[in-house]
């Protein structure tokens, strides 16, 4: 091989090696640089719900007339809590009660159904506790807001959780009092209000 050819070959090799070494150093630098990252992903914020319903489908628990002393009416309503937040549920009324209210004894019990009766039947009701005893008029005057409403929880719980149910049995009895004759309570409503704890 002539000197000239050797020189050219050497040039090729020197350039190739220079480019190769620089390129590889850059590549190695890219692939092997020490690196560290940390991240905090998937952030979101959502609120829960407070939702309660009953099985009355718009019907009254009781609507009776022409009752006499010691006659009773019994009706049950089933409450279902579907909210996602733990809650308290209080029972109260904001209705005005007519003159018969003071002669109408009312008992409210909480409990469960062993079967599956349709509203407002109490067939299969098992009482867990009595949550109110008194006259309907007294209930209206002392239990007229969430703050003073009757609190009740399913079984021995201290909060309502999602899909909890509780049955309330109302028993109303006409007192044997002549002043009750010919009177009416008027239309009234009961309210169950749930508030998150």
């Amino acid at each position: 091989m002539s000197d000239r050819k050797r020189k050219l070959l050497l040039t090729v090799l020197v350039v190739a090696m220079t480019v190769g070494v620089i390129g590889m150093l850059a590549g190695v630098g890219v692939f092997s640089a020490f690196s560290s990252t940390t991240s905090n992903d998937g952030n979101s914020f959502a609120t829960g719900t407070v939702t309660i319903g009953d099985n009355d489908a718009g019907s009254a628990m009781y609507s009776v007339s022409n009752k006499k002393p010691n006659d009773s009416v019994q009706a049950c309503i089933k409450l279902t809590y579907t909210g996602t937040l733990a809650a308290d549920v209080h029972l109260y009324t904001t209705s005005s009660i007519g003159a018969l209210g003071q002669y109408l004894d009312m008992t409210v019990e909480k409990g469960t159904f062993s079967g599956a009766p349709a509203f407002p039947s109490c067939t299969g009701f098992t009482s867990q506790a009595t949550v109110y005893t008194g006259t309907l008029a007294n209930f209206a005057s002392t239990r007229n807001s969430f703050a003073n409403g009757v609190a009740a929880f399913p079984a021995s719980q201290t909060q309502w959780n999602q899909n909890d149910t509780l049955v309330y049995r109302f028993t109303l009895t006409v007192q044997d009092n002549n002043n009750a004759s010919g009177q009416t309570t008027g239309s009234h409503s009961f309210t169950w209000e749930a508030q998150n704890q």
Binding site: R4, V12, A16, M17, G20, N55, A57
Partner: protein, 176 residues
């Protein structure tokens, strides 16, 4: 003349060296490249849930249909949901879906069948609207069969999704 030829030869040698050097670098970088992980894409995980309302008791409470790795294979997920009218009136019950994501809206097909007929058939997005009503007599129950699948012609967009579909009920008293 001889000097010109030498310069030209040197220039060519430099270019050849550059080309060779670049080729070596390219080959090395290609060899070091991290290959993508092999294996098929992930399917979608799907679950349907339901809870009671004041008017309706449902069974089971919570998840009643679920499946993992669902793909456009024609595989059908099935689940049964029993609803019972616990009011004293006949109810018209409608359902709608509240999915936690919208990726599967146009992909997942859903069918809801009751003993009274097909309540709904269509994609999940359409099920965000209320279905046809199901009449449930007072104190009575109805069993609903849910079917969910991805048609075989489904394009992508479902891979790795974890869809939870909550069913919501609307009950209205009808007749006596």
């Amino acid at each position: 003349m001889g000097s010109q030829r030498r310069d030209r030869g040197t220039r060519i040698a430099r270019w050849v060296g550059l080309a060779v050097g670049l080729a070596v670098v390219m080959a090395a970088l290609h060899a070091w490249r991290v290959a993508p992980a092999p294996g098929p894409l992930m399917g979608a995980d799907v679950s349907f849930t339901a809870g009671p309302t004041g008017e309706l008791e449902v069974s089971p409470t919570g998840r009643f249909l679920s499946g993992t790795d669902l793909r456009p294979s024609g595989r059908v997920l099935m689940g049964t949901l029993a609803v019972r009218n616990q009011t004293g009136r006949r109810l018209a019950v409608q359902l709608r879906a509240l999915p936690n994501l919208d990726d599967l809206d146009g992909i997942l097909r859903v069918e809801i069948i009751s003993p009274q007929g097909v309540l709904f058939v269509g994609d999940l997005g359409t099920l965000r609207n209320w279905t046809s009503p199901l009449i449930v007599r007072r104190g009575q129950g109805e069993s609903l069969l849910f079917r969910a699948w991805m048609p075989t012609q489904t394009p992508g967009g479902y891979e790795g999704d974890d869809a939870s579909v909550a069913m919501e009920f609307l009950s209205k008293p009808v007749g006596g």
